[in-house]
Symmetry: C2
Subunit: 434 residues, 2 copies
Amino acid sequence: MSQSTLNEPNNLPETATTAAGKKGRAPSGDHSAGRGRVTALDRGLLKILLHLLGNPPIDVRLWDGVPQGTATNEGGSRVDIRDRHALWKLFYDPSLGFGEGYSDGRIEIHGDLVSLCETVDESMLDHKPRPSLLRRLQAKIRYRGNTLARSKANIHRHYDIGNEFYSMWLDEQMVYTCAYFDDPELSLEAAQAAKMDHVCRKVRLKPGNTVVEAGCGWGALALHMAREYGAKVKAYNISHEQVVYARQRAEREGLSQQVEFIEEDWRKVAGEFDAFVSVGMLEHVGPENYRELGQVVSRSLKPHGLGLVHTIGRNYEAPLDAWTSKRIFPGAYPPSLRQMTDLFENSRLSILDVENLRMHYAKTLKHWLERYEEHAESVREMFDDKFVRMWRLYLASSVAAFLAGSLQLFQVTFAHARNNEIPMTREHLYQCAH
Amino acid sequence: MSQSTLNEPNNLPETATTAAGKKGRAPSGDHSAGRGRVTALDRGLLKILLHLLGNPPIDVRLWDGVPQGTATNEGGSRVDIRDRHALWKLFYDPSLGFGEGYSDGRIEIHGDLVSLCETVDESMLDHKPRPSLLRRLQAKIRYRGNTLARSKANIHRHYDIGNEFYSMWLDEQMVYTCAYFDDPELSLEAAQAAKMDHVCRKVRLKPGNTVVEAGCGWGALALHMAREYGAKVKAYNISHEQVVYARQRAEREGLSQQVEFIEEDWRKVAGEFDAFVSVGMLEHVGPENYRELGQVVSRSLKPHGLGLVHTIGRNYEAPLDAWTSKRIFPGAYPPSLRQMTDLFENSRLSILDVENLRMHYAKTLKHWLERYEEHAESVREMFDDKFVRMWRLYLASSVAAFLAGSLQLFQVTFAHARNNEIPMTREHLYQCAH
């Protein structure tokens, strides 16, 4: 399946093009081209760069191998910048430069990639809690809204890389969102099931309830709601590969009567339901569309229905980092709670409950990274070394972002403003209640 | 005590001045002055007014007793507008006009005041979810920020009316904020204790913990934290009468060593604490000061401390209604969650949990209203009939506002953005955990 994907050019991850394409450089290969001896200017640029990052305590070396960072390598991880080209790109745009440099093998990391990213994130947050005006402008210029058409292209880029690829490192249910470790010892599989139950309890799902799900991934939650709670679910998704996969699962499980997977955009949601759920889609909607989404939610929720939106977010407004939004999640944007309120405050919806599951996502991503590394070889065969390094960086830097607090995970439960039959307490969410 | 208050002119509720003062009209008395026959213009004005309110299904009559509303009085409540003066004030500013008219006895309500207010609130929300630009402008012009000095005057106006007065209708602990009915059968006393425990659990209060409370009312929560959880509390409040009362209680209970009541503004909070709590103060802070409050919170919370802010709020931005902010709560403003984020997003704080307790406040206010009515006679003796009607309207219209969803109650739990020792789940908040 992933093969057929790779044959259509615009399904091809850009990075793969580069790697397979013109330069055809073996990522970790020789970069003598841009190398030459290290000049005072090179060292000066690096010094300024480290200063802009708040001088994180890391050991950084240029291609002459001389320690330049504020820390020498005592157990900590080490960064080697292997040629001038990588250094200058890093200087021009640290996020993009680091991502590209690491993927190309022009930047090499010795030691733990996660703790390195965490150290840098924390240093940046301490030094400068918000991105500079320049970076925000860059991001504004790069960010193109998620129109109906562009959404499809963006989602296609990420989610249609191939189910086979994702199945190598996600849990067996293929849940690609934050899990819920209500017991720290849970396996990833159990924690994903716990998350789905947590969501179902938050919307008080009962047998025979109707649910609309906006952005259903590979269908795990929709099927869970039907199988475990006897709900009738309409699940929307614009990723062709995911919908095909989800339908096959529904068939296999004999749930096709209860769950309908619809290859359509959230804007096309029709009908009235007892519950509205959206887990991990808002990141792809874009703040410019929250009001419209709010109207869709409001018109599709019955007067006494409950809704839930689960999304990666932030403590403050800031764009997704340049590299991730260029190479991994085009069009993605993690909102602050302030931005999220656009979804509710303009549609007569009332926020009942917000839960921040940040540490659960750090844990989830650690599981994914571990499984990913176990399959690194198969990924290399399927794509190439650059792709392997690119996705390793994405997963590792995401663990770091949740640990450092530059990303959050918000679960927001809501109802119509006029609904007075809302639950009085949240005790029903917890084990004791079952 | 209330007497001594009433002797100092600027402690005197404005309304009492009016009643005691120049006009000296007996509220429910004769208003023949502005009466005369009902003209076509009078009926026209009323028609327009009712239209602007979304034509609520109520029975309204002018001083000729002829039904004018969209509903005739079948079990529902009836509004009598007893003179032209009241009608024109109502037309010019419905909120202020109704409040003043009802207090003066120029507007009389037959039937249930709460359900009348609820019907009107709902009709207005359905007809026009947000106040008109004109009303918002009026409110902007009237609203004067809560500077250090003005805060003191505003708080004085409301909270220094007299402890004796509040003791007549609050629970025996004198808790003047939303209670928590985790069991619907709880008495007001028990529900206030449950609320205080809920707050203590949300900040994971442990013996020996230090707490700073911003806005401590008559001291119930501070004393509860010391007595039940062995915490050391610094409690700030700018209401002189409340602080005096709270100190006496601490003495009586032998908790003066554990709880220090400080007659100071939240801006003066000093020191670092394991917990920051503020229950029912944010309403008096004003959105223009949230950033500053956020900085105070951030500097007074230890790296692994937890904070909680409990406040009346809204689903959308709108000023407090004109009458309440003129007669009851000068300078008060119920924020939307969007506005509240100013407190957190600029101080590197991370929102962990938001709980909306709207229905709990409706229930709390019903208890207060019931007790208030039982003591209406004593209130009349202490003040006058106008004061009795004014506070009845305030309590009844507040029940209605929470039932209709024009007001919310938000409890927000937060921590420093870099705190990774935050609770993984919220199960510890619920009975099962104890």
